[in-house]
Subunit: 391 residues, 2 copies
């Protein structure tokens, strides 16, 4: 295995798009910015680009640090860098913050050009389909007609799948990790509780809290605490916290008694101080709405009939949010269409969050699969690029 290092110091960039974007809701976003980062070098025939699609609370800062002083690197730094499974010596990697986000791309907290004030509640409800359309424009902007691969975990995996549906000629490989072809009723129920916690916070002001100088911190905190429960498996929580008391003895009250409560409150407080509530609402709705089989009466195989990409689908045994059974639904629909698909069900204790962890087995699978992506055999599938927009 080659030596593996972080990509080092990186800097975000902003792409402005002045061509209106028609959204699935029927609304039109007249213009917008996307903040993005790139790692590695685009090769001469522009065939080595990999797009990273982020999940609910993710963003463009996927790898490296913005300065030597940064305490933590980007959120998927363990995956991306020289010698890492997604090797920046070979690939040109693109991370972006999705529309509606709160890390630099146009979203509820950014200024609405029409009013000069924050969009707030007026920022449209965006979908996975809208994101992928905006990501395709970012690829255009970067002169990339065809992506070597699109990679995403969770909500990011839904975007990777959507890429192969919306732009079958523009993506050779899709890596769909810890994802699902749609949410279950239970998944949606958790989203609804989180949203209701935010919306009923007296400081939400119908989504226009920016003008009030407040944020619905209480609601966002509850939403994040709840989220954390669903990201971890019961076993992982048991192993990490069990029933450990924080101070060794029971105090019979409602302050922190158990270690796990301290962890949840910390995570909730931290998130509520950083993330935008309107973005949280939109990210969860994008999850709810994604359902490519819906126009096909629930027949996912029919929905994937036009797909051309090759797939790696990965699930984790302890992921009860997006269980392996949901990944197998995707695998089955791909196989029904005689598409090339590799599937790995990784034994991991971490639950849904396992997709972000540097589990050796998991990373070996990604390394091996990505090793095939720019191989000679892969070239055969690349001809479609010649018809692309930027070739």
């Amino acid at each position: 295995m080659s030596e593996s290092t972080s990509i080092g110091i990186v800097a975000p960039k902003i792409a402005h798009f002045s061509e209106p974007l028609a959204l699935k809701s029927g609304e039109i976003l007249p213009q917008y910015d996307l903040v993005y980062e790139t790692y590695g070098t685009l090769n001469a025939d522009r065939s080595n680009a990999v797009m990273i699609c982020h999940a609910l609370s993710g963003h463009h800062h996927v790898a490296g640090k913005h300065s030597e002083e940064d305490k933590y690197p980007g959120w998927w730094d363990n995956l991306i860098g020289p010698g890492r499974p997604l090797d920046t010596n070979k690939f040109f990697v693109i991370g972006l913050n999705n529309l509606g986000g709160c890390h630099g791309s146009s979203g509820p907290a950014t200024l609405n050009p029409a009013t000069g004030k924050p969009w707030g509640a007026a920022f449209p409800v965006v979908t996975v389909e809208d994101w992928v359309n905006s990501q395709a424009r970012l690829a255009d902007y970067l002169g990339i007609s065809q992506l070597a691969a699109v990679i995403g975990g969770s909500l990011g995996g839904m975007q990777a799948l959507q890429w192969t549906l919306a732009y079958p000629e523009r993506v050779r490989h899709a890596l769909v990790i810890a994802s699902a072809p749609n949410l279950t009723a239970q998944n949606m129920a958790f989203n609804e509780v989180a949203r209701q916690a935010i919306i009923t916070d007296p400081e939400f002001y119908g989504g226009d809290y920016y003008a009030q100088g407040v944020v619905p911190r209480r609601g966002l905190r509850i939403a994040r605490m709840l989220g954390h429960i669903t990201y971890l498996s019961d076993d992982a929580m048991g192993a990490k916290f069990g029933r450990k008391l924080r101070d060794g003895n029971i105090k019979y009250g409602f302050d922190v008694e158990f270690e796990m409560e301290s962890y949840l409150r910390y995570q909730g407080d931290k998130f509520a101080g950083e993330f935008d509530a309107n973005t949280y609402l939109r990210m969860t709705r994008a999850l709810d709405y994604f359902d490519p089989a819906l126009p096909y009466g629930g027949d996912l195989s029919a929905a994937l009939a036009g797909v051309k990409a090759k797939f790696l689908v990965v699930s984790f045994t302890s992921d009860w949010r997006f269980s392996p059974a949901r990944s197998r639904e995707i695998v089955k629909a791909l196989l029904d269409n005689e598409l090339s698909v590799s599937y790995a069900e990784v034994t991991a204790a971490h639950g849904h969050d396992a997709f972000l962890m540097p589990d050796p087995h998991y990373h070996a699978i990604l390394r091996t699969y990505l090793g095939t992506v720019l191989s000679a055999a892969d070239d055969a599938s690349r001809s479609a690029a010649d018809t692309g927009v930027a070739s």
Copy 2:
């Protein structure tokens, strides 16, 4: 099978206890009321009494109706009545509202005799052990030295188990249903999110909201919505709601889109209008704290060494809140002590809530087991009653 009917019209009674109750927290409740109901007739030798222990949001009104006009009967009416599995032609059944409750027993919303104002935050944190001690006093009050059985589901099952630990001579049978020997970290995490939603509601006022003329309705609503997710299995939610849209088309916003959202909001609103938030906090803490194995270094078998009762333990395959594995922990510890235990793992789709449903297989198990309780064979285990307080 005999004809089965509801017990009919019933009326609650109040028992006042002026002897102080020492609580596990170290606090002392100087006096208190317990509201209770009874169904059936106590037999001459007072050997046919069955106590029903309620779960988080339960109460004393277990069976029958308070008036012909009542829309719904008590919460376990399908179990209790003439000819029903817990047959009131044979048994004298006692339901009560636990201390700290909000249905008539002393609790945060009742008047503190010392101040003449609602207890509010000053009402002590009560535990499963405290409840069982207060229930034993209710048995004394009713002239019952030994219960034929104690029955409870979920948190109620913990009380049934605690009865056999605290009063081994005073209970012949324990029916522990959909329960666990303690909460997992994940179970406790859900409780913590629910409590934080309540406590951070601006109308909570540190628990003394009664004086403000408000209730922390928003927080209680979120707590209940979350609770409902954990009471149902993912499959049950899928079967009941799936991804069904309420109005048939997607509106791309944050009002109700899916049927499931409408259900959760309705359940949350209803509960928030009826239940007391301070009670909710205390019920969840009682769940958190229950852990009979704790003083034995986690060794449940050692904790149950003094138990004498016979057990029926029932779990449900789709219960992910208190999974069958947790019930099997209890069964193992009972068997380690060479106690008599019957165990049934019922195939049911409803999740945790299955313990309240009239599933024929489940009810047949209860009927069969309860059929043995007053049999001649059962008499042999009854001699201990002769040493009891009221014999």
